[in-house]
Symmetry: C2
Subunit: 306 residues, 2 copies
């Protein structure tokens, strides 16, 4: 099984530069390609990252500031041109559907693949997605408009059968397999209990987690949702010398991002959403490391294994 | 005076590639920077072309297919962030204003600089813009939705005074200057006529013109509007082997673009809007040259002096 990983497609904030890539990320987790935010130019970044666009079935939009969603129309149009058939789910605050349909209306275009909008409106930590492998939660952030972070958690996998031992117990039928895979012991008709550990293979099965928190001002309350995550991406729009400006604009500094990482005891912190007023990105890392050593500045198209 | 020139910011058609730059161009003409179409990523291309965005006061959108306008929200937002004060005119088919305001509504954003929408709806060749230096006309094209080409024509400039000679005629007042600059002779009180050629400096003053025609299927009727233009950009989405497909999709082939150039007796033809199914762009030029020798494929960020 491929290990979960994150690819940063863009981590600039809103003002464009020559190499401007506003927020967008691909999280690969247990056979899912989750697209997180979708700034202008995301579809080209996906091509550069060699991600087959059609593998994305779920898009998560943190908030409706343009640098986090202006690329979505391009992606939806491209899917249409490529003849997409599979369903696409878009998790977003209210309004994105209206924006998309306003575009389609005036261009006399249609989306013929199934497009499913899930409107996020809760201001509480809440599960918004589950499949057999992954749970996803929204984390309420503090920004100028309604904004969510996202927490992605791998779920406990079904155990693998020790088929040699299973076969030894004649009473076990195929219809019993799922229960055993889920961890149950098997009880024979005569009452004898066969331990699950005998019937399954022991595997190291660490459950990985990733959290995305952007955009937000410093909000230590979120730490309880971020406890021990393997990788945290937290915005650090400003260096700490601009902490007042950061607060006024609903953003964080690198020191504040590092404090969140430390309080939540995460394994690794990725910084991003840098304001273009700071051309030396290295300073963000330097500042953050003072508080939380395993801090790193996001690099475009780099793969971060979780 | 700087000669008029065109910079191609993007000339791909709608399907993205690694170096995807959908349609957008900057025309510099007599102190104006006209932005023609605005596909996704245009603002970054402007930075790469070293065009100061704030110098653009007029944007022309040919039609509302995404590859011709998905970059406009990014530009408008950036203007807001940069504190733009000067008025921005947007010439576009009906609907773009609605799309823009739908975006602003949900992001709770405001545009505080003057934004003026000029809705294009005529299906006839028509003047839509004039200033003291330039006239601009729409050219009705033939596409899947309502689409205009644009014709940009330099206007006759005011003559420069031969100030030495002017001073010799004591009766001439400053208030007479404009008439003389416009080409009038001066008549003295005693009825003596002073020839305009004596009062002004002879200058070679060729009036340049540029025409943009994209997207369109083959429409020879437009040639009468394109007669003798110095530079024509005409879409050539397909090679001629796909002329049936071109027709069905509302597009042209390289041969058809060249036929238009020849019929209209233009000076130079620029091809563009290539479908990504043809990785060898050189073939477009080769085909077009058979019909019209001064044909060239558009190259990103190249400056074409008119």
């Amino acid at each position: 099984m491929i290990k979960s990983y994150l690819i940063i497609l863009g981590c600039n904030s809103s003002l464009p530069t020559k190499n401007f890539h506003p927020t967008s990320q691909i999280l690969y987790m247990r056979n899912n390609y989750f697209l997180i935010d979708c700034g202008e130019g995301t579809q080209v970044q996906l091509i550069k990252a060699k991600i087959k666009m059609n593998k994305i079935n779920n898009i998560f939009i943190s908030h409706l500031h343009g640098d986090h969603y202006f690329g979505i129309m391009g992606i939806l149009s491209t899917y249409q041109l490529l003849g997409r058939k599979n369903k696409l789910n878009i998790y977003s605050p209210k309004g994105l559907k209206n924006i998309i349909y306003e575009n389609l209306k005036w261009s006399k275009s249609k989306i013929t693949y199934p497009l499913n909008f899930i409107t996020l409106k809760s201001k509480k930590f809440k599960k918004i997605y589950k499949d057999e492998n992954v749970n996803i939660y929204i984390i309420p952030l503090k920004h100028k408009i309604y904004t969510n972070g996202f927490l992605f958690k791998e779920k406990k996998k079904l155990k693998n059968l020790n088929i040699k031992n299973v076969k030894k117990i004649k009473e076990i039928k195929i219809s019993d397999y799922l229960k055993i895979k889920k961890g149950k012991d098997f009880v024979k008709k005569n009452g004898e209990k066969i331990s699950n550990s005998y019937l399954t293979i022991k595997k190291k099965n660490k459950l990985l987690s990733y959290a995305f928190c952007s955009d937000t001002s410093f909000k230590p309350k979120i730490c309880k949702y971020l406890k021990n995550v393997d990788l945290l991406y937290h915005e650090s729009t400003f260096l700490h010398e601009k902490k007042k400006l950061a607060y006024n604009r609903g953003h964080s500094t690198s020191i504040q991002a590092a404090k969140i990482a430390k309080l939540a005891n995460v394994k690794k912190l990725l910084l991003g959403h840098y304001s273009c007023r700071f051309p030396n990105i290295g300073k963000f890392e330097k500042e953050a490391k003072k508080i939380f050593n395993n801090s790193e500045t996001s690099k475009i198209l780099k793969i971060y294994y979780i």
